[in-house]
């Protein structure tokens, strides 16, 4: 297919026409799903806020199912498709492999997403996005999800194909860039995820139309979580890539060490998906050996990898800032970082919140025995709103502040509000996540319409602190939603009304990435070798928080009834 290449004058990025269009459409659809899911969030949070209890039970469960599907799958997956096309075609400056297939994948995802939502809002599929058998949804609930999975699998194939194209057309020399390597990691995890998803959703669909008699409930949970949790690991790989991307563009940061960061991604490829076992730690049918080895990502090698990224990403920022002369004391580089740039601010809040809140709580929650304290409590959504929301979603929001001018060629409207948005959203959601975890620590259930148990044969009174936490969840949740709505207004407003920017030169041949001249690579090393004492202090703070919180939970565990 004939195509053209446009070089953005501001960023120097080169966009191939087909890839550009696919990225735009995937991003736009992603934002629309975020909008739907966000409206759902409002219904969910206002119902769980004991003072309001907005929706009746049936609507609550319907909306909660929609919130899970639209946010976790549709918003994230569509955006990730855009990230994959960007990290392959744009960063490697080559044409996108099989753009027609790209559109096929796109439409499958769109149709599948709509189909599943129709099923949910018809009311017969309030089964939560996990749809544990034998609770049954309408057949088109599963069919829609299968289409979404096939569509995203096509996207992964195009990513891999584009890597081949770039190599063949020699648009780069040596190894692919770090960000592309991170996207490759995400793709690999996605392939496993989607294959597992197909492995369980197709039989479930057949069961829902009556062609299969029964699906083992434990087997379903085991295979389903290879989809459900691994898809979160795609997000991790994707947002870590964005953590590398944004400082590279905004302040010219480079990895401290290519070897270390790529090695960490390799550990992700090998072990990250095993953590799907986190969800089955309190299940009857899995052996303790299986649980321990899988939940620990094979002896915590993937946690080690995350701790490495948590060091090298701020380390790269520190090194770049120090090279710019912000060399005073431990933290001048941090104080003088571009906090007014919403892309950078969003990325850094994402990093800190994911590391301190999402990461630590996730590992604690994923400890085999400690899991019994929190399984299915409000702690669980508390944890993952500090991973998939302050981590992934905020990183995606942050990178959008860069994409709107370069990809959509529009200036962001209302720059002052743009500056505030990542703080509003990131901080409010971090607090929301924390108080959700607090309520969960006190035992409050997730996916539960009424913590007063109206209509039950007995009474149980949660401690007053639990009600307080749930109230705070409501309050800060609403602020988060305002922060999210603000982002949607800013992005959509900019796309419609933002000042048009110069698109830059269009050519019908790609301009390859210039090979590093031997002189250049000899004079300054590929990686940044500046001492990063500030990062060391931050990392140590993380470690101390981690160790303390980890052992506090063992202490809690040792105080409950004896179990064996």
């Amino acid at each position: 297919m004939a195509t053209t290449y446009r070089t953005c004058p501001a960023s120097g990025l080169q966009f191939e026409a087909h890839a550009e269009k696919l990225m735009k459409w995937n991003a736009v659809v992603a934002v629309l799903w975020l909008l739907v899911g966000g409206i759902g969030a409002l219904g969910v949070i206002m119902t769980r806020w004991p003072a309001f209890k907005l929706l009746p039970a049936d609507q609550f469960y319907t909306i909660l199912t929609a919130h899970g599907v639209d946010m976790l799958l549709l918003w994230i997956l569509h955006f990730e498709m855009a990230v994959l096309y960007f990290a392959s075609s744009t960063l490697l400056r080559c044409r996108l492999a099989t753009p027609k297939m790209g559109w096929l994948g796109f439409w499958l995802m769109v149709i599948g997403g709509i189909m599943t939502n129709v099923a949910i809002f018809q009311g017969e599929s309030s089964v939560m996005f996990t749809s544990y058998v034998p609770m049954q949804a309408a057949p088109h609930f599963y069919l829609g999800l299968i289409l979404v999975a096939v569509g995203s699998l096509i996207g992964c194939g195009i990513f891999m194909g584009t890597l081949v194209v770039a190599k063949k057309d020699k648009t780069y020399t040596g190894s692919i860039p770090m960000v592309t390597f991170g996207a490759l990691t995400a793709t690999i995890i996605a392939v496993f995820t989607i294959l597992s998803g197909a492995g369980i959703l197709i039989p479930t669909f057949l069961w829902s139309v009556g062609l299969i008699k029964e699906i083992d409930a434990q087997l379903y949970r085991m295979v389903w979580w290879a989809l459900g949790h691994s898809s979160q690991q795609i997000n991790v790989a994707a947002h870590v890539s964005i953590w590398y991307l944004i400082p590279a563009i905004v302040i010219g940061a480079k990895p401290l060490s290519e070897k270390v960061s790529r090695g960490a991604f390799l550990l992700y490829i090998l072990f990250l998906q095993l953590a799907s076992a986190h969800h089955l730690l309190s299940d009857p049918g899995m052996s303790a050996e299986w649980k321990v080895l899988n939940t620990s990502y094979f002896m915590y090698f993937a946690v080690m990898a995350s701790m490495i990224h948590g060091f090298t990403v701020p380390g790269a920022v520190e090194a770049a800032m120090r090279r710019k002369g912000f060399n005073n004391g431990l933290f001048e580089w941090l104080r003088k970082a571009p906090w007014g740039n919403p892309a950078f601010a969003g990325m850094f809040i994402s990093l800190v919140s994911f590391g301190f809140l999402g990461g630590i709580s996730g590992v604690v929650l994923g400890t085999e025995q400690i899991n019994m304290l929190m399984h299915n409590t409000y702690y669980v959504p508390g944890h993952f709103h500090t991973t998939v929301v302050t981590g992934t979603t905020l990183a995606f929001m942050a990178v959008t502040y860069l994409l709107v001018p370069t990809l959509f060629r529009r200036k962001m409207i209302w720059p002052k509000l743009c500056q505030i948005q990542p703080y509003l959203f990131g901080i409010a959601m971090s607090i929301t996540g924390l108080v959700m975890m607090g309520a969960g620590t006190l035992g409050v259930s997730r996916r539960h319409w009424d913590m007063a148990f109206s209509g039950a044969p007995f009474q149980y009174e949660w401690p007053g602190a639990a009600y307080l936490m749930m109230g705070m969840t409501g309050f800060f949740g609403v602020i988060t939603i305002i922060g999210g709505a603000l982002w949607i207004v800013l992005v959509v407003g900019s796309l419609l009304f933002g000042e048009k920017l110069d698109g830059g030169v269009v050519s019908d041949k790609p301009t390859p990435i210039p090979a590093a001249t031997p002189a250049a690579s000899a004079s300054h090393h590929g990686s940044d070798h500046v001492a990063v004492p500030g990062t060391v202090v931050l990392a140590m703070a993380l470690l101390v928080a981690f160790v303390l919180y980890y052992y506090v939970n063992w202490k809690y565990l040792s105080e409950v009834w004896l179990l064996s």
Partner: protein, 48 residues
């Protein structure tokens, strides 16, 4: 560069071999999580 790759370390070659990584990344959890998981479930004895 294509003329002579012999000086490239093994690990770098591995990390540049995207399709091999794909295979590794699918097989590893496919065996440790899925396959072992299925074996576990199949080995659950029947209730008396």
């Amino acid at each position: 560069m294509a003329e002579n790759d012999s000086d490239i370390p093994f690990m770098q070659k591995l990390l540049d071999n995207h399709f091999l990584l794909l295979v590794i990344g699918v097989v590893s959890p496919g065996v440790i999580y899925i396959l072992w998981g299925i074996i576990d479930i199949m080995n659950t004895p029947l209730a008396k």
